[in-house]
Symmetry: C2
Subunit: 339 residues, 2 copies
């Protein structure tokens, strides 16, 4: 790399492109040599149903307490595969770079992508890099797509919630969105908030291995937060879900920051949380598995609600003082560009 | 859809997002209903090795003679799978939208994505949509990733070229890059140039079915053009390749426009061309298969060169007047943002 910023020519397909790929991107992401690069990766046959997902990442800023766009992109795709009950196998990485991006920032993101993939046991097997002129993108966008395998017969889907199911979450929520917001706006918080950005494939593997068909729905409450995701589950399964306000785990730091800014933590994004609807007799065991995988000092998993036999996809919150409040999705944007 | 332009709220995960997905994006791309949407698509088991690829598309302008960013994104990914010898199966679509994009333009791109997928017999099974503020992207970027299956034992790779192999191309080159350039710059050409944007999976299927292991390398000469791709093959296979200038098929319109603009068509991008290195005894049969798949009036396939036993990855052009000229990759950008 002879330039310390990204030039338009790095996207040309010529020698500048090849040098960027051969000297930086490919060695960091995959360890493949230049002679092994082809238009597509050829991978061993897989026994079982496949899961396939994609997400683009446009988070602003690129780096925030607890994570960055690189680990976010890997964990996001790993988690989407896990939410289908799949074991993640292979990931692709598509980069859109803005001319002028410091190569040092790109390197930091690439190293984070690789470290996150290694942590999840997935291989980055194929990729693509484009460069657009200054002012035509915002520093760096990442797309990841992922392939996983379902090597068990359990069917996990947003349609699976059944009356009586307990709704569980694997820890306190709202941290990711507030960490990104604080970093972007330069907010001085007395208690700093760190993103919960983390992979969920291991907790899902254990939930399915130990509880099998007692697990009905898995969903990670990212954009739109817990409230929006619960609403989606209720609609897809055509049931009602009642959440218990007193049981909702929110850290004092997140609760305080949300109160000051007029935000509702129920609608703030998460990147290492999962919601599960499980048969009532499996709820305690599921919470125990979640506890095994919870980060130390991060606060515990909780049963936060129950599925009710009622058509129409309604979500209600039983408030701490005993009332009932309807939960609807927000119309628009509470916090833009948090992932 | 109540707004006729894209708003930031369309990327929020809330009701605006859901309406954009449920009313426009998902029905056009996949035909899935809202109750069937999950974090990842679950697909039937596949018998055979898998191929996996991704590309992001940032072409400017979005629409050009012969194509648009939508069909480009599908054909590009289908072609990358085909170049590994795979039969394309499933595609993901990740959209990054700039606030203010007219919904009518988005719809046109989505319809093109779907029509192209239908033409190739692939299903768009999963996707993602992000919105960034005005000035943080350029209208619309698309990422596609694709999964294919290798249901035959032939190994196709850039390392496969062998001395004596004939180098074939399935038609005249340079049309895509020049069509995009003319559309972007508003050039008034006496003979309009139309992009060659087209899928290559069918010609590859027939080449492999009829010629099998006589096919050694397949590569589509996109960014960087024929010259760069031939150079990549020579390097990966550690051979030399001699191209025959008199045999290079370039349409008079492309040749004329390149001459006026000082561009070399050997370095101009293509989106419906493939280079093949095949055993000499299979060359005529391969050209016949390519002819069967060539668009009417588009000009014919041609044998353009030969692989030579010489280490170091050199490419030479035997000029029309009998000299030899070394071909090197360009350093930087001849034509930015052509895909």
């Amino acid at each position: 790399m002879t330039s310390d910023i990204i030039l338009l020519g790095h996207g040309s397909g010529g020698t500048l492109s090849h040098r960027l790929l051969d000297d930086l991107i490919v060695p960091v992401l995959s360890g493949l040599g230049p002679r092994e690069q082809n238009d597509a990766a050829v991978l061993p046959a897989v026994a079982g149903r496949l899961a396939f997902t994609t997400d683009s990442y446009v988070v602003d800023p690129l780096f925030f307490p607890g994570g960055d766009i690189g680990c976010l992109a890997i964990y996001g795709t790993v988690n989407d595969l896990a939410m289908a009950g799949a074991r993640p196998l292979h990931v692709s990485v598509g980069l859109i770079l803005e001319e002028g991006l410091p190569v040092a920032e790109l390197r930091r993101v690439l190293e984070s992508l690789r470290a996150a993939a290694d942590r999840c046991g997935v291989a980055i097997v194929t990729g693509d890099t484009k460069v657009v002129p200054r002012g035509k993108a915002d520093k760096l966008f990442v797309n990841t797509a992922g392939i996983g395998v379902l090597d068990h017969p359990v069917a996990i889907s947003g349609r699976g919630a059944r009356p009586g199911d307990r709704v569980l979450i694997n820890g306190p929520f709202g941290d990711h969105g507030m960490a990104v917001l604080a970093a972007r706006e330069g907010l001085e918080l007395t208690a700093p908030i760190v993103s919960d950005c983390a992979p969920l494939h291991a907790v899902v593997r254990d939930l399915l291995a130990e509880l099998g068909t007692a697990v009905h729905v898995l969903r990670d409450p990212t954009r739109g937060g817990v409230a929006t995701t619960v609403k989606e589950i209720a609609r897809q399964s055509d049931v009602a879900i009642v959440l218990d306000e007193a049981a909702l785990p929110v850290s004092p730091a997140v609760a305080g920051a949300c109160a000051i800014l007029g935000l509702d933590p129920l609608f703030v994004a998460n990147e290492g949380k999962l919601l599960a609807c499980v048969a009532p007799e499996a709820a305690e065991a599921a919470l125990a598995i979640m506890r095994r995988h919870a980060p130390a000092g991060g606060g515990g998993p909780a049963a936060i609600g129950e599925v009710v036999a009622e058509s129409g996809g309604r979500v209600r919150l039983r408030t701490a003082i005993g009332g009932m409040r309807a939960i609807e999705m927000l119309a628009g944007e509470q916090l833009p560009r948090i992932c």
